[in-house]
């Protein structure tokens, strides 16, 4: 049926394809893989290697399939090879490290197989880019929808918009355009390539302008949305890691950030003893339930940056076991869990999970802290009477080591404690060396920067620990060095806040450490932590710098409650012991100040019982103030810490006799709940109620459906009461007013109608134009010409078409005058005379000209009834024919 095209697969053409098709796809996937990993909490899953293997795999695959490799043969071969390698890897002996390699390989293999498939489709299926972009877009939206609760702020959304959705859309448009353009590029001539590039540039300009214009058009409404949902300030402050750890104020809630108060100088100033938060940590020793405090960890500094002279959080740190969510972004009762930190913590011996309730006071709710290695966070409610003092509370879960008790860690001369600590040392003495520890990790955590200063620290460390054999002995040797006394019995190292210069950073840098170790021997926690880090690393002990809070047990009455003041911000080190994981060690010499903080005044907040049901929905009817019940339609919620999402919206009756009704601003009355209000109902699992027990094997949805109605509600939170907020209502209206489908449709439709209108009106417009020209001509010659054109046009439009080879005079004589007897021939003679001679027209002639035009129209028009005249003047084809005819009679001769 059709004749084939001579396909030319030249190398230069391939290069163009790689540049204009493959590179944008790889770039898009680069963004997408990063995004995907992030949203799936796979930040350390080696996304660089994923991106690299994807890019290379896709490029290679494109080249292969460009040259028409057979997919059904080559692809299965690739899959088989990848599978064989995978099986082979599994056979290699090795425990953890091998498992690590296998997991990595699996990820790599899947990525590669996927990349090759994409490359093939891109090379062979011309509509693939559209499908691909649409699928990516859908995945993006679905991924985010999965995590909606976590990304509720406008800035997070904008980030998604600009980082993912816009690029995908741009890619879609670009590929639709470019793929076709490249296919049309049949010969590689410079002219054609430049032509294509020019068109591409024009296209991009057009698209950008379009995007910009649309954005500008809808900006006001977006701003309203932002105001409504709050949070966004345009430039997002979150996300970036402040490497100095010195954020002064949290821009979002105006509260003091943990990082602010973790000024290790143990601020003695005015704000120095503010209560940041309190926590209930049910961790006890022995049958007497002796409280066993644990240091609260925030983050680790693992890397010393010699260029900037400071310790840094390293985003590429291997086996990063820090769980660092923003608690205020997690919805109430929603549990955010990342168990991968347990695996990455690499220690399971003597470890267990412990739950801790933390009540925030002055601490910013953006910051997260928890004992030891946290892996879960769930915001919870606070009993009403404590809500003013502690506006926010959360339940965290930590994977703690029994060897991490603060009593093991405190660096003190207290003999009882020292004796107690010996038990831990005995256990850890079993660890002789790090031979079985991953070499790469060991290198990472035992490498010091190069330079004379670090050499001298290393020399000092080796001197101190020359007799120590095991890692723990090395640690003890370093600790003892800091505790050592001179010949007069005076300590060599002293705790002091008044060291260094005024503008020195809080976390001591190498220069400050030199002064500390070799000259002044005075400093505070970051000095001791920093110095011991370099010393232990020099001794081959994997160490990291940890920032968090010193936990002090000062309470006699409330066992397990700990209070954290701003001066408890602390820095210490963690040392890795195979199988035991990272363990805390504090080298700071006795710091009596912090332990003399005021005893906890006031009582700890009452812990509300565990919520068994939290339902988010809409009031189906106004609250029944007589029965004290409330009908709520809901779909989503939480059942015993498990999310549920019902298939259909369900209406439940809630008994709200004892329920506390509130909204964001404070208590409300039951009667203020109206149909359509968005509410959240919480029911606590206290013993007095008949609540369903959780069944592990059953889905949360099914269990919710089994609940007996009416369900007793303990708390009702109203999300918004529209009646009270009139201005807001207007705002909302504005949001929709700025855009209307009808306006758009009207616009497009109106434009189309206008075009049609102009199309049919065209003859009439021409007629009027000629008429006007004829009436307003200044010289007799001009007038004659325009009257002539006007008459010719009118006759033509009335259906007297002049033949190709007919002269104007013949036309006038044979066609016009025969039909209308309007005296056109006489006029033509005068016109031709004026045109072809230099004689000026006499008065008679002039009169004839000016008389002619109204006369002839009257005569011609009289022949036709109005509707026929209109019909004739709608015929654009005749006009077109008239105008197309070359104007052989020029105005000037």
């Amino acid at each position: 049926m059709s004749i084939e095209v001579a396909q030319k697969r030249t190398f230069p053409l391939l290069l163009l394809h790689l540049l204009f098709l493959v590179l944008p796809t790889v770039a898009l996937m680069y963004v997408f893989i990063g995004f995907f990993n992030e949203s799936r909490s796979l930040i350390t899953a080696g996304s660089f290697w994923q991106k690299a293997s994807f890019g290379l795999g896709m490029t290679a695959s494109y080249i292969l399939y460009y040259y028409r490799a057979r997919f059904l043969i080559t692809y299965p071969i690739l899959l088989i090879v990848l599978w064989i390698i995978y099986e082979g890897l599994k056979l290699i002996p090795g425990e953890f490290d091998m498992f690590f390699v296998v997991v990595r390989y699996k990820l790599f293999a899947v990525t590669l197989a996927f990349a090759v498939l994409i490359g093939f489709l891109l090379a062979r299926w011309k509509r693939f880019p559209i499908v691909f972009a649409v699928v990516l877009l859908a995945i993006t939206i679905v991924i985010r929808a999965d995590n909606t609760d976590y990304f509720t702020t406008v800035d997070a959304f904008q980030l998604l918009m600009y980082r993912m959705i816009m690029p995908v859309l741009l890619y879609l448009l670009y590929m639709v355009f470019m793929a076709e353009s490249l296919r049309d590029l049949l010969e590689l001539k410079a002219r054609r390539i430049f032509g294509m590039l020019g068109r591409l540039a024009l296209f991009l300009i057009l698209i950008s302008a379009g995007f910009y214009a649309t954005g500008e058009y809808l900006r006001p409404s977006l701003r309203l949305v932002q105001e409504k949902f709050g949070g966004a300030k345009g430039d997002s402050a979150g996300g970036g890691v402040d490497t100095n750890g010195m954020l002064k104020k949290n821009p979002n809630d105006g509260k003091h950030s943990m990082r602010d108060y973790a000024q290790m100088k143990n601020n003695q100033g005015s704000g120095g003893k503010k209560l940041l938060f309190c926590a209930y940590l049910p961790n006890f020793i022995g049958p007497d339930s002796f409280p066993n405090p644990i240091y609260f960890t925030s983050y680790h500094l693992t890397y010393y940056d010699t260029a900037h002279e400071r310790f840094e959080r390293d985003s590429l740190v291997p086996m990063d076991d820090v769980f660092d969510p923003k608690p205020n972004r997690i919805p109430l009762f929603k549990t955010l869990t990342d168990t991968s930190v347990i695996r990455k913590g690499m220690g399971n011996k003597l470890r267990r999970s412990v739950t801790c309730d933390i009540y925030y006071k002055e601490m910013s709710t953006e910051d997260f802290t928890s004992p030891s290695t946290a892996y879960s966070c769930q915001p919870i409610t606070v009993e009403e009477e404590f809500r003013k003092e502690f506006p926010f509370a959360m339940k965290t879960k930590s994977w703690i080591s029994e060897l991490n008790s603060a009593y093991f860690v405190y660096n003190t001369d207290n003999k009882d404690i020292r004796k107690f600590q010996e038990q831990r040392f005995e256990v850890l003495r079993e660890v002789k060396n790090y031979n079985r520890f991953d070499k790469k990790l060991l290198d990472y955590y035992t490498t010091n920067p190069k330079g004379p200063l670090f050499d001298s620290i290393a020399d000092l460390a080796k001197e101190i620990a020359k007799d120590a054999k095991t890692p723990i002995d090395k640690i003890i040797a370093v600790r003892d060095y800091f505790l050592s006394k001179d010949e007069f019995g005076e300590p060599n190292f002293v705790y002091s806040l008044n060291v260094g210069k005024k503008d020195d950073p809080n976390i001591a840098n190498a220069r400050m450490l030199r002064t500390f170790l070799f000259k002044e021997k005075r400093g505070y926690c970051t000095y001791y932590a920093g110095a011991s880090l370099f010393m232990l690393r020099a001794l081959g002990v994997p160490t990291r710098f940890t920032v968090g809070f010193l936990t002090e047990d000062r309470a006699d009455k409330n066992k397990g409650w700990y209070w954290f003041y701003s001066n408890q911000g602390h820095a210490w080190i963690q040392v890795y012991f195979p199988e035991y994981g990272w363990l805390d060690f504090d080298m700071t010499v006795s710091n009596t100040d912090s332990r003399e903080s005021p005893a906890p005044d006031g009582t700890p907040p009452l812990q509300p019982p565990k919520a068994w049901l939290m339902a988010e929905g809409v009031a189906a009817a106004d609250a029944d103030t007589v029965k004290k019940s409330l009908q709520v339609k809901f779909k989503k919620g939480i059942f015993y810490d498990r999310d549920f999402n019902l298939e259909n919206e369900q209406q439940f009756e809630f008994d709200v006799v004892n329920a506390k009704v509130s909204d964001e601003k404070g208590p409300r009355k039951l009667k203020e709940i109206h149909a359509g209000d968005s509410v959240m109902i919480i029911s606590y699992a206290d013993g007095s109620k008949n609540v369903p027990r959780p069944v592990r094997e059953m889905s949360a949805e099914a269990q919710v459906m089994r609940a007996i109605q009416p369900v007793i509600g303990d708390e009702v939170r109203i999300k918004a009461i529209p009646e009270k907020k009139k201005p807001e209502k207007e705002q909302q209206k504005k949001i929709t007013d700025t855009f209307s489908w009808w306006t758009l449709l009207w616009g497009i439709g109106g434009f189309a109608v206008l075009l049609v209108f102009i199309f049919f009106l065209f003859p009439t417009l021409c007629y009027l134009w000629y008429k006007r020209k004829a009436a307003h001509a200044k010289t007799p010659k001009d007038r004659a010409y325009w009257v002539y054109r006007f008459s010719m046009f009118t006759y033509n439009q009335l259906g007297l078409v002049r033949d190709e080879n007919e002269t104007a005079l013949e036309y006038a004589r044979d066609k016009v005058d025969k039909n209308y007897a309007s005296g056109f021939e006489d006029f033509m003679r005068i016109y031709l005379k004026i045109k072809y001679t230099n004689m000026p027209p006499d008065t008679q002639e002039l009169e004839a000209i000016s008389r002619y035009s109204p006369a002839f129209t009257a005569k011609a028009f009289a022949r036709y009834p109005l509707h026929k005249r209109i019909a004739k003047f709608l015929n654009t084809a005749l006009t077109n024919r008239f105008l197309k005819r070359p104007a052989d009679e020029k105005k000037t001769v």
Binding site: R192, V225, F229, Q732, T736
Partner: protein
């Protein structure tokens, strides 16, 4: 034409393209996601209570992007629509002024033929494209040729016309009659393609490619009058030997008026002379097909291509001998357009078909023939009959047409992993190997070979 092919062919004329269907589907799906009852009914007071901020923003942005997309698409389609309307208005001019070329004119060498179409007065849609394709009289259509180039006159900024060219795989050496040119106006996203058809009457022909010339022994056996211009010296007045008396039939323009002025005698210059000796080599190449049963169009055309290649090569090899060569065609070929006189034999060779009504006996005039080419499709009996009392100085060339498939591979190891480009010929070869026609042909070919070996004529085979 099978039904599927027919559907595929006619579906190309649908204005809406696949991309647009996909985009509309995508837009409708987006709209389905975006819309909620509250939002569309304008009952905004409860809107934010039902959905999260994420959903709200998603919907909001969804509407922004959807609106942007619709505007963009509408704009894009409009550009194509306007240029198409302009095309309809200008259709007559397009028909008159459109130009098509194979190679650099009407003729091209078989294989990858550069086809060029130049069209004046049309406008391309903004960032979009006009594609054209030619429809031949046998119903086949060429691949799309995008009109991407601007044709400018020297030192002028505005273009005179737009043109596009593309290499088409035209393997068959024959005449191609273009009956229609199909136009497609596509917008920048290729969402629509407005079709337009311009009927036309053009013919192009594709000739066999040139090959290394053969060393042929052939004698002229036919005497024809030859017109050879004799270079005449400039001052020849009075040299009576160069003139003859004017007689009716002579060209009046040759009358030498100077002599007439002197002598009142009408004389004409004699620049031509007649050569009385045998001068011409007559090349007979029979396109007779002696195997009517088992014929298949796909074999025919491949065999014919090969035969034509060899005949052209024979003709050109004879030309270099310096003698006059005349190709005697065995069939009438359409000469519906003027071909340069020198090109006529090649044109005849290119446009010939296998024929069944003029066999070797009635075609070859034995006493005139200088060289006779026969294909292996001619029955051995006919050849035998020809050989009888054939003058000894006549060369007989057997063209073994079955060779067309011989050198073509069926399978190579590389083919396991890579598709190779000449697949259509492969498929023909596969069915060729299984056909009974092949066996009969090879048998005949062998028999002719044996016959030629035994006979004492000057025989060769290529």
């Amino acid at each position: 034409m099978t039904l599927v092919r027919r559907i595929r062919y006619y579906s190309d004329f649908l204005v809406i393209r696949w991309q647009l269907v996909l985009l509309i589907g995508f837009a409708m799906a987006s709209w389905y996601v975006i819309r909620t009852d509250n939002y569309t009914k304008g009952n905004i007071s409860r809107f934010d209570e039902r959905i999260s901020a994420y959903e709200f923003l998603l919907r909001h942005w969804g509407i922004v992007l959807l609106a942007f997309g619709i505007l963009l698409v509408a704009f894009s389609i409009m550009t194509a629509l306007f240029t198409w309307i302009w095309f309809l208005i200008q259709a007559r001019r397009v028909m008159e002024e459109m130009d098509m070329q194979f190679g650099k004119g009407k003729q091209a060498v078989a294989g990858n033929v550069a086809a060029t179409v130049t069209v004046p007065v049309l406008f391309r849609p903004l960032l979009g494209l006009i594609r054209v394709r030619m429809k031949f009289s046998d119903g086949t259509v060429t691949a799309d040729i995008p009109l991407t180039d601007n044709v400018r006159e020297k030192n002028k900024f505005w273009r005179r016309a737009i043109s596009g060219s593309r290499f088409l795989a035209l393997r068959d050496r024959r005449e191609y009659h273009i009956t229609e040119v199909q136009f497609f106006f596509q917008d920048m996203f290729r969402l629509v393609a407005f079709p337009g058809f311009i009927p036309t009457e053009r013919s192009m022909y594709v000739v066999p490619p040139e090959k290394p010339l053969l060393d042929l022994k052939a004698d002229p056996n036919k005497t024809e009058e030859q017109e050879i211009r004799i270079p005449t010296p400039k001052r020849v007045e009075g040299e009576i030997i160069n003139y003859k008396d004017f007689e009716p039939g002579d060209d009046v323009r040759r009358i030498v008026w100077k002599i007439y002025a002197r002598t009142r005698q009408l004389v004409v210059r004699i620049p031509e002379t007649t050569d009385p000796y045998a001068s011409h080599i007559y090349l007979y190449a029979s396109f007779y097909h002696g195997f009517p049963e088992g014929r298949k169009a796909k074999f025919d055309s491949e065999l014919l291509n090969l035969y034509k290649d060899h005949v052209r090569n024979l003709y050109e090899s004879l030309l270099v001998t310096g003698l006059d060569v005349r190709f005697i065609p065995d069939q009438e070929t359409s000469t519906n357009f003027s071909v340069d006189e020198k090109e006529v034999p090649v044109y005849h060779i290119s446009t010939a078909h296998w024929q069944t009504n003029r066999d070797l006996r009635s075609y070859v005039v034995k006493k005139d023939a200088g060289l006779v080419a026969v294909s292996s499709l001619i029955p051995v009996a006919d050849v035998e009959q020809l050989l009888q009392d054939l003058p000894a100085n006549v060369t007989l060339v057997l063209v073994k047409v079955s060779d067309v498939f011989r050198h073509h591979r069926i399978f190579k190891f590389k083919d396991l992993f890579f598709q190779h480009t000449n697949e259509s010929l492969d498929r023909v070869k596969r069915s060729w190997l299984l056909s009974g026609f092949r066996r009969r042909l090879l048998k005949n070919e062998k028999a002719i070979e044996q016959l030629l070996k035994k006979s004492n004529v000057n025989a060769m085979h290529v």
